[in-house]
Symmetry: C2
Subunit: 455 residues, 2 copies
């Protein structure tokens, strides 16, 4: 028969089994962490009507989207989890309680040019808190705690959550009569780390934006405000009273910073950073980025912010919110690439592999049933192969324990249990096996999926 | 601004938050159950090249598939999890250890005519064991154990796993010189429960199949063999020695039945049933169906079987396997529809909702951080609303515990903790709160997502 070449599309991540276990463990940690903060899980269709998905329209989105006809229906694959959330909240408004907190971990699709580390299908992990009419700024203050707990639970240590407030920036621009140019200025300032101060100054004074040298200098001085959180807030207080929006933003930023300790976020994992603007018009208040201190070149691994109006394309209701997003597929790629994955963790599909060495599989099956009932993930190797081949299989799966049931063992109602990491083998009665294995497994399952060797 | 009507496509399940929690709990139980049997988790792209996905080609599949062009690429959404598995195993063959056991819980797409309880996007939960060249029949014997443990863990009680072997059927047809018509006969016999014996007899003797009355009688007598597993096997033994394929099938079926008790499957949850054929040419040996005893009209909720050649369209390697599939979205729909979902289970997004009643949120935040560190899912209600509105929110979420932090409590470094189910309210010191709540939560989280009221 003529064969079709089996292949996976480029830009689509498809992991080998033990890597998949690592990925799944990371996703499970995200779920558990988000759940600790009272977020509902949500799952929305991958396909939506194109007019719903593209209600906002325009720009890169429309070019990258996977869009197609099915019968008479103009359909598209979601390109983020925010638009489906907006649709969901507008559609199910009457049945939801606000603030509505939801997390969603799901695949999204963007037909980007394929290149290393760029994916066309990728998981996003989003959390959002949506208010009805209003949403208290204390929600903004909680977000860094969620980021901190989540990445710490994954095992990351050398990271920093950087926070700013768009109202401070907008208010500052208004003070200097630069409101008209503020979006262009923020887009430019956002590039500071990438292109440097000199290039930013040149862009700001170039004809497209057209600032004077003095105005550019004011802006660069402003966003150069640095120091501890208290020092930054003190510097900002010197601008107070000149613009109401600025003052509001400063109040919000102060509130976010004030409760950090109570939220359990150490000072050294948090920075007020006036260079953070997020190049999206969408955000209106607090904005967040998260960077790996040893890999600034990767950019932000968790970003988001406060927005005024989640669902304006679907409803007249004012639905403000605050949220963050983790690009999980890209993060996993980067972590693997940079050697951050903890390969010491148990990634075997089973904790114990039973090797029946007698014709009758009965004893092996009974033992497997007992182990599974005790919660030990157990596989029986039922193929009639030589002992050596059975052990090769055990090695390939990296199972922590092999259980040998030969004639002697069956006669004695016993099992020989071999710890595959230490090589130690003991003969135990059947009812001792589960406890023995569980004791040995505990340390193997203790670690985090990320091993951050930074200090 | 002109609004786009927010809507979800018909045939796409989109759950409200507390239903989503129930669905997710079911999916988590499937994952845990499959993992106990040593299956790797797998996640493959939703989009594949159309020629890869349609390698087998033909039939209903091609009509129902979501297929589209993106640039020059002819792409399609997967319509099951078996074809992607075949591709995966053929593609990654060299990096896998065999038998390769994997489970996958993921969405698949079929552009079926929309009708109640039929979905165009739905979750399948599949497990498969793939051998390299050969796969021992002991794997077939394990499958009923997995089905039994999984549905029992979900809370289902009144169900039956029905097993047959295609070799027995094919061998029987060969004995009666009916091999040429066997596929047509099996397709017809498969409808026995739906259309009754009379209609099956009519179809068998109609010109398309063309059996004699006597042949039709032989077949109906054969598939009418009933009784305990031992009785069925004894009846089948009477046909032994007349056809090698029949004898092989009988050996396999006997092996599957023999180890049931050791695998922990009660006799009353298992039946050898010669009417089961699975209307797919794909299966070559053991076949499985699972029915809800009180709802036979729903049909099989978990089906599968043994196949000879997983990936023949991609590779010359012989890759036999055995597997089952659960249509999770449809099952969830049916369970909800029939009142099987356990609404007593805790479906709140948080175990505790803290209501700060003072200006300073500090104490509320500190308590929330402590509770989360102790593993209690905690939400702070930060909106400046009246007490009554806060309690209404708590009721809507159905949170088990509300924690009130008023001036008195803050002064005394205490918290008033209200059990929302019993109405009982106690004032506790801050460090007593976590343990108090955890103790009360335990029974709420003990139940299964399905409440099977059948006896």
């Amino acid at each position: 028969m003529a064969k079709v070449q089996p292949r996976t599309l480029s830009g689509f991540m498809e992991l080998l089994p033990s890597r998949q276990i690592q990925f799944d463990r990371m996703a499970a940690i995200l779920r558990d962490s988000f759940s600790l903060y009272g977020f509902f899980p949500l799952d929305t269709p991958l396909i939506e009507a194109s007019d719903v998905l593209l209600a906002k329209g325009g720009g890169e989105t429309e070019k990258q989207i996977y869009r197609f006809m099915k019968g008479d229906s103009d359909l598209a694959l979601r390109f983020d989890l925010t638009v489906p959330l907006a649709k969901y909240v507008a559609l199910h408004y009457a049945e939801l309680a606000f603030p509505f907190r939801r997390f969603q971990i799901g695949k999204v699709y963007r037909g980007e040019r394929a290149q290393r580390g760029r994916f066309r299908e990728f998981y996003q992990a989003d959390i959002d808190i949506i208010g009805d009419g209003k949403l208290d700024v204390s929600n903004d203050a909680e977000i860094p705690a969620i980021i901190y707990r989540t990445f710490t639970a994954l095992g990351l240590r050398r990271f920093q959550i950087r926070v700013n407030n768009r109202k401070i920036l907008n208010g500052f621009y208004a003070m200097h009569d630069l409101t008209r140019q503020s979006t262009a200025i923020m887009r430019t300032v956002d590039k500071l780390e990438k292109i440097g101060e000199k290039s930013v100054r040149d862009l700001l004074t170039a004809p497209e934006i057209g600032l004077t040298e003095q105005q550019a200098g004011e802006i660069l001085r402003f966003i150069d405000i640095k120091g501890s959180n208290e020092e930054v807030l003190a510097s900002l207080e010197q601008y107070r009273g000149r613009n109401p929006m600025f003052d509001e933003g400063l109040d919000e930023l102060t509130m976010v910073a004030r409760h950090l300790a109570a939220f359990g976020v150490p000072q050294d994992h948090f920075a007020l950073d006036l260079t953070i603007a997020r190049g999206l018009d969408y955000y209106t208040g607090t904005v967040y980025e998260t960077t790996m201190l040893d890999h600034p070149e990767i950019g932000s691994i968790c970003s988001g912010g406060r927005f005024d109006n989640l669902a304006e394309y679907y409803t007249d209701r004012q639905l403000p919110g605050v949220g963050i997003s983790i690009g999980l597929t890209r993060l996993f790629f980067v972590l693997e690439d940079q050697g951050y994955l903890n390969d010491q963790l148990n990634t075997a599909p089973a904790d114990a592999l039973i090797l029946p060495m007698t014709e009758d599989m009965g004893p092996a099956i009974s033992l497997a049933t007992a182990l599974r009932t005790a919660g030990v993930r157990t596989q029986i190797y039922g193929e009639p192969k030589k002992f050596k081949q059975k052990m090769t299989y055990a090695d390939k799966l990296a199972v922590p324990y092999v259980i040998i049931l030969g004639e002697d063992e069956v006669r004695d109602n016993a099992a020989s249990v071999k710890n595959m990491r230490t090589g130690e083998q003991v003969k135990l009665t059947m009812d001792q096996v589960a406890a023995h294995i569980q004791k040995g497994l505990a340390p193997l399952n203790e670690g985090t999926p990320i091993l951050d060797k930074g200090e």
